[in-house]
Subunit: 325 residues, 2 copies
């Protein structure tokens, strides 16, 4: 049995997992990232976590096929460079080269959302499907697409920022410079904004207490929804509808077999997906709809780790296939 | 020098061209399709056209690498089957097998729009670009995307029906079963519909004469635009804006380097593309916009033939690469 290590690198924590070739998570370790210590410190810590995982399983570096790292921000997966990650304060860090030298095994990197969706495609809700489109809903909204086992990159590894498709009628300025982007509605931030605006306009809701205490979160809106609060239901229905509009574009253009919704579970599930499904039937040609299944992600917590490991394995297999020619 | 034949199979005419490996059209022949004679008759005629082209260039079948056929409707390019083409009255015709046997050379088929966009990507407005998204505007609107020399198919070879993305605020029923599809606005049919509705509502325009004579066409609207007619300008501005909305989704999701606009030239050009460009700046994140060029197709008339020939060549090269392993 050979193994991979998948590393989910975040601004707060690093989670690393030993994964076998059946994409099963064997061991997992977690450490604070300590961004302030600089990239070399963080990469050395990641190398130590790899050793720790091998030790836990009584393995040596020879048992390790490769390491995959899911990085936040803009990543060049071909060069193995973390191009820009604001929450790590990283600019053009050669992760694959530096970490590869520390570990003595090939290191492959990609954007964290692409890694998560790759994991769902290989071993989660999209397993066995030819084309898998995955969306993660958290502070923002991001997406990636896996086509016959390969991530779709487009030009400059930028394709698929579904969160920045502009929704007609929406006017909220987005961090990207546009107005009314999908993620200004469909995200934890977007849900809280909708609630805040309605409460400021005087709407009645059980959310007012949390709002006035300055504590309003998307989780409060979900709880209020479950208690039958009309405002919360309106907000999550509308959020689901806007998600449906975005997915209508994705489904028509990518034609996936499976759409996986991942990210913060409080926002997903039938609270928003009922109105998403209704919108899809109005906005997507039946030829596509008859052929696509909308699913909740199966790897939520370990998706980044398993996806990074699966990505590393697929890169090694690709290199082996090329060198066998 | 080796050659390909590209065949553009339409409901009215068959156009076949002898194309060299630099994608230059050496000879071209045209014949009526005669759909009523049945598929075997049409395929035999195509085989004769291939012989005619070889004879014109004093070549034999040994000089021919392969034949590519761009078919209307739904095509399975892997099986080589024309699955459904309403204007040919064809259902599940094994074009690659039958025509291949008649010609004695490999025959590859795909949908006609995909062939045209493949041609633009290999040898036209998208030459040298990594990712090319092409849109044809005619009676309807269709699109295809070429990614590193390969067509993007999605599941069941259906991806990318940009003409059937629903545009908010539009309500016109579409042949696909939805309402307000992009092609109900951005197409010759859509332009005539917009003009007809405005004239029926009493709008003044120099288009009224052609309308009352029952002769109104998209070409009339273009001519009226050029003469400064306010209604025609409004219609083509709006048409361009709606095209911009659709392309905003394509550009965000596919992240192309080049977008090629092909099809009926009367509709394209700056008459509609000025407002398309304006809409794109409002609806597409600058990271994509800085990286994409909007171009008019360069192969308009011979695009289907050259694209089909280029596609056949790429399939043969792919097969040679696989068998060399």
């Amino acid at each position: 049995m050979r193994y991979m290590v998948g590393i989910d690198l975040g601004g707060t924590n690093i989670v690393a997992g030993l994964v076998n070739e059946q994409y099963e998570l064997v061991h997992k370790v977690k450490q604070p990232t300590e961004v302030a210590q600089g990239s070399d410190y963080v990469l050395s810590k990641m190398a130590k976590m790899v050793d720790e995982l091998l030790e836990m399983a009584d393995l040596t570096r020879q048992d390790l096929i490769a390491v995959g790292v899911g990085c936040p921000g803009i990543v060049d997966p071909i060069q193995g460079i973390a191009v820009f990650a604001s929450n790590l304060k990283w600019n053009n860090i050669e992760v694959s080269r530096i970490l590869g030298e520390k570990i003595g095994a090939p290191v492959f990197i990609d954007n964290d959302v692409r890694m998560y969706v790759f994991g769902e495609a290989m071993s989660g809700a999209g397993k066995g499907a030819d084309v898998v489109h995955g969306v993660t809903i958290g502070t923002g909204l991001a997406a990636a697409t896996v086509v016959h086992g390969e991530l779709y990159y487009g030009s400059k590894f930028m394709a698929g920022e579904l969160g920045h498709v502009v929704i007609e009628g929406e006017k909220t300025p987005c961090g990207c410079g546009l107005k009314g982007c999908l993620e200004t509605v469909v995200s934890a931030t977007g849900i809280v904004r909708q609630a805040r605006e309605a409460l400021e306009a005087g709407r009645e809701s059980i959310l007012r207490e949390a709002f006035e205490a300055g504590e309003l979160s998307a989780a409060h809106v979900s709880m209020a929804y479950d208690e039958g609060d009309a405002l919360a239901q309106e907000i999550l229905d509308y959020t689901g509808k806007v998600l449906g509009k975005g997915l209508a574009y994705s489904i028509t253009l990518y034609s996936p077999d499976v759409v996986v919704i991942g990210g913060g579970s409080a926002l997903a599930g039938d609270r928003i997906l009922d109105s998403t499904r209704k919108t899809l039937t109005e906005m997507v040609y039946s030829g596509y709809m008859n052929n696509v299944t909308l699913k909740i992600g199966e790897l939520i917590d370990d998706g980044g780790v398993i996806g990074s490991a699966a990505f590393a394995k697929s890169r090694v297999e690709k290199m082996e296939a090329v060198s066998a020619k």
